[in-house]
Symmetry: C2
Subunit: 203 residues, 2 copies
């Protein structure tokens, strides 16, 4: 692309650095910004910057927060004895959206991935183990809600192995066919797992 | 979506204000930003802001520029007597990418669209007419390179009508089948036009 303005080119470069945003989409985004009032563009610019300057990570669970402790960890209504371990704060949000979980979370900030050079020490794992050993009322269960990938499985195995010494129940979210999923379209591995991990059905 | 941080929520709102970017994509963009160094995020934020604070529009053709006159209008090699009228600077870039045009441009900043309340006075049209009447060497041809839509056709008609008094040749870019296009898949209107506007073929 040949630009008549370096400022426009740099803005396109900046926006196309996002994953999934190509040069053409970035150019369309810049054209949109040019048509918006200056105050609005300044607000977008500031909101992006504040992600780095003002955002905190909860000292208890590690999720994104505006304060030292996040709204979930500060909520006295949540069950302190159940911890749900997730990869990222977006997974936390996904679980919160189900309204099925009343405990607390622990955000790892990634998954163990030797291919990408990410080991256990790169994740918020030490804080999880400290949290469990230091908890006053004791932790009764740790639910591992990680992706059903090689990295997710590796991380699950690592955590479960480590938690053996703490004597807490470790569970994993169920893997099976999706609700509303038609059997003939389910892949064999998922279908096989859902058979092995069948649950008791009572009427 | 339930956010544990207002800062994250506001950033997601800001990014999802772009056309074609939904909440989920915006959330993914925020997660990407959180993993980047602060300097890089500050640079993205600043590049967005500079679009409004530092960017200029060329005083001759109206395209985006870092200076009073854009790089094309300041180039003595360009033919001053041929003006190509385009809707936006992205169309200018698309034509520049063909390397087939050596004249200058005029960027309208939109098209006449009564449905959206955009009339001739909302576009850079007055500056085009002034540019033609004030030009020292005279303008020999005005090429209208506008979209083949109702708005594009309306704008073309308006400009062509106005330019009658200036006695310049007005032309429009050819409409026909795409290069590489298979005849059977071309819509009837385009195919009909390409028949009417057939060109002499010599070997």
């Amino acid at each position: 692309m040949q630009f008549t303005s370096d400022i426009v080119e740099k803005a396109v470069d900046a926006l196309s650095s996002f994953p999934g945003i190509g040069k053409r989409t970035a150019l369309r985004m810049v054209m949109y910004l040019l048509k918006r009032p200056e105050l609005e563009v300044a607000s977008i610019s500031e909101r992006i910057l504040r992600l780095k300057t003002d955002l905190k990570f909860c000292r208890n669970c590690g999720t994104v927060s505006d304060f030292e402790y996040c709204s979930i960890c500060s909520d006295p209504q949540r069950q302190k004895e159940v911890i749900c371990v997730v990869e990222d704060f977006s997974d936390l949000m996904a679980i919160e959206a189900t309204s099925q979980f009343k405990g607390e979370y622990h955000v790892l900030g990634g998954l163990i991935s030797p291919m990408d050079g990410i080991g256990p020490s790169d994740l918020n794992l030490q804080s999880l183990f400290e949290r469990i050993s230091n908890s006053e009322g004791g932790i009764s269960e740790v639910i591992l809600a990680l992706s059903a990938t090689v990295e997710g499985d590796t991380t699950m195995y690592y955590i479960a192995k480590k938690l053996q010494e703490f004597g807490v129940t470790v569970s994993s979210i169920a893997r099976g066919i999706s609700v509303g999923g038609e059997l003939e379209y389910v892949d064999e591995i998922t279908l096989g797992r859902s058979l092995l991990q069948r649950t008791h059905y009572s009427v």
